[in-house]
Symmetry: C2
Subunit: 478 residues, 2 copies
């Protein structure tokens, strides 16, 4: 099979044709990745930090070229994409700093205790090592930060693992350019060339996660695709961890105490909802507001002025349109719609469906499916109990937000409800915009993540790829 | 179905008949466990520490009664079982201390950084919470330390999770007595009664891991049984972590520099191999020695004096005998055998098969299956390369040992080989006897563990049941 870039603004193909990497070539790539892993995992954290820093510098120096091609392939716009390159290199350097500080990777010394068991024991040194070669799947919606040299790759490299990246078909040229720059930069620091590799083609996904030499997988994307790969990874003779972020319907709860200025609030809501054409896993998918005609009126007024932005691909648009139709057929909602769209390219108008909480009894499962794109659901409630009940029936989410004055009596129980289903709870903040920092947690109960213990953003992400090995009774000289 | 205790020394049934817990009863038990989890997970670490301490005190005070019944059910002997109760209560207190110190459970504060992203970010507080009700499966070979109130239960309770224990059919009375003591003690501290529950019966396993209200599973036992449960847990609509320790063939490598006294060495080897009738997951299953007639002669001389000890159950003996027959049919070995056994009860003579490394080419897969019981394989090698090659083809193991003088030139590469396949590498120490301490790692690549990132012994075990939730931008007052 082959694949070519498509400009989502026009629907036209352009650039080189990428042939799917053949099974024979993947086999050879994995062999080299195993050999590179052995060398790379034996390097010191400081050496790996140098490698990550070199990649970051090289990507920064090529930002223009990277943004040019990514914008043509994704239609996400130069401003957003420049920011994303900066975020990506910041992320690489964050892992480099983590390694330099020895965080997560330092040996833990448990000194000998004299006496008989259970109290007495010899000295233990708990070390960690890269789990083995990792298969990373590029995401459609973040051509840099969650793709070739994104957080999964950065954290796996930091852990001492070699990485085989499967390019996302929506931006193969961006993937290839990022990879070429990164591999050259990493090699220039003395790292084995095959520490990172790139493959193209749909079939590669299955080949990678079922190959016995691959030790872990990391994925951000659709629930169907991610679950299929997860299932393959778990069904192996030797199952491997497969860290999948499979989408999220993120609740945002607004208490009356925070809704004194509906106009400003609606603007902020639409900004978050329609950012990147709504193609964010942290999109504020479901907004809970106290019943308010003024809010709905304001929504109508503002959304009609919003221009449609292109989808990442035709497939993304089709899936979105189908999910939206399904959503609208299942709930009795007031529809607020954005500007009509032109014929060419991959566009759909923004849309927010407003529904009353009390009318949702039958349709709750329908708002529970992610509608990846410029579509939102507003649930107007008459009591906080309604909100809590609906939250308790929703699936696991990456993020939940609460807008309220902090002394509002309902704050505490809404936060508890959100925390019981989300990986991150934001107070008076929209869910979009996920900071890359130590305290971040970008995960959550399934389907937000296939492993709710782990994050794919922030420096804790490195722990996904570190396998502990304890040494018992080793003389200090060793 | 029903189940009754069997005395493995005589093969005779005794004591009450335990009916399998009915599906309706399990359903009710899980409902109560969910409610108890909500309350328990909201307690402070110090409160949970008090609960664990109360259980430990109560079990200590009932050691006599516990050992009486466990000895009758398992035949493991009073000395070993008294030690195991002490280990179990030490373990409960170790988790209590961990909670008191706030280790693993304290909030991590990531202060706000001024400025635009990616550098700037709001304040994050990274918290952890109990993942949800945990299903714990009692193990046959440790009626206390890996059963009802063993490490899995202790770590899950410490994490703030409620626990539903499935009693092991080989020691239902021990399970019931342990449970009764623990539940009363825990309740006396004010904890909800249903924080721990006990069910009996084979079918309960499937019911528990497939119930949508159970959030994690923990298991120590056979590969077949553990894998079946793991598969069920992963195939759920909402997959859950299933921490299975599925057995291990543990390599012990002896370099020439450590073999100056074969007589003493063989004694120590047989002590480790035959401890608890060899029914340890850390049994030194495969011993690599430099070719030495003296060692083999010494093995013959000493093993014939070793008395057989009872198996834990008839099923354990049957599986062992079958695996041993399979092993012996596939390798060309010199057989060293222990004292013959009597007819009654569940006994088999100790046996060590001595085979040359160079003859193993065809039979390597056969020594790769665990032979759970008083059976060992000794591989005599002519070069360290042979050892390293065989290690590289073995499956993941809980433990690997190296006996050598520390300045031996081969030490470093053998340690590396062991570390690449084991969770714990012991230097000049036998693998049996797993200390309960912070630095311990009792896990390893599959099948040693279904999750090589995690340990089932030592205080890090708590992390298996802690789900992170990050709070973003929360005012200090909240």
């Amino acid at each position: 099979m082959s694949n070519q870039s498509v400009n989502p603004r026009t629907g036209e193909k352009f650039g080189p044709v990428f042939m799917s990497t053949s099974p024979e070539a993947i086999n050879e790539i994995i062999s080299q990745s195993v050999a590179a892993h052995t060398l790379w995992s034996a390097t010191s954290p400081k050496e790996r930090a140098r490698g990550l820093g070199a990649i970051a510098d090289a990507l920064d120096s090529q930002t223009e070229a990277l943004v040019d091609i990514a914008d043509e392939e994704t239609g996400l716009g130069r401003v957003r994409l420049s920011g994303e390159v900066a975020r990506t290199t910041f992320q690489l350097r964050a892992f480099a700093s983590t390694l330099e500080e020895g965080r997560f990777v330092s040996d833990e010394i448990d000194a000998a205790v004299a006496g008989a068991p259970p109290q007495g024991h010899p000295k233990f040194v708990r070390t960690v090592r890269g789990i083995g070669p990792v298969a990373v799947f590029g995401a459609s919606n973040f051509p840099f930060a969650f793709s070739t040299l994104g957080g999964d790759t950065a954290s796996a490299l930091a852990a001492g693992c070699s990485v085989v990246v499967k390019a996302h078909p929506a931006h193969p040229q961006t993937a290839q350019l990022t990879f070429d720059i990164a591999r050259a930069a990493l090699s220039s620091t003395g790292a084995p060339t095959a520490v990172i590799s790139l493959v193209h083609g749909f079939e590669c996904g299955k080949t990678l996660v079922t190959d016995s030499r691959i030790s872990a997988g990391a994925f951000t994307g659709s629930r169907a695709g991610g679950r299929a790969l997860f299932d393959l990874a778990q069904a192996r003779k030797y199952p491997i961890p497969f860290y999948g972020e499979l989408g999220s319907v993120n609740p945002v709860v607004v208490l009356k105490s925070a809704l004194d200025d509906p106009k400003t609030f609606v603007t902020a809501y639409l900004d978050s909802l329609l950012m990147g054409n709504g193609q964010f896993c942290t999109n504020p998918s479901v907004l809970f507001i106290p019943e308010s005609n003024e809010f709905v009126q304001e929504l109508h007024t503002q959304i009609v002025l919003r221009e449609a932005a292109p989808f990442l691909s035709e497939a993304t648009k089709k899936l979105h349109d189908s999910n939206r139709a399904q959503l609208l057929s299942s709930i009795d909602a007031v529809i607020c719609q954005g500007k009509p769209v032109s014929e060419s390219g991959f566009f759909s108008s923004a849309l927010v469906a407003v529904v009353k909480a009390k009318d949702l009894a039958q349709g709750l499962t329908d708002i529970g499916e992610e509608c990846f794109g410029p579509t939102g659901v507003v649930i107007s409630y008459s009591s906080v109990e309604q909100v809590i009940e609906i939250l308790s029936e929703m699936e696991g989410a990456l993020s939940g937000s609460l807008f309220a004055l902090f002394h509002d009596a309902d704050v505490s129980r809404v936060l508890d409800s959100l925390a019981s289903m989300c990986g991150r709870v934001a107070f008076n903040a929209w869910p979009t915009g996920v900071a890359v920092t130590y305290g971040q947690h970008h995960g959550g109960p399934y389907p937000a993540s296939t492993s709710s213990l782990h994050t794919s953003v922030g420096t804790h992400a490195i722990t996904r790829f570190l396998r502990p090995v304890t040494f018992q009774g080793l003389p200090d000289v060793l």
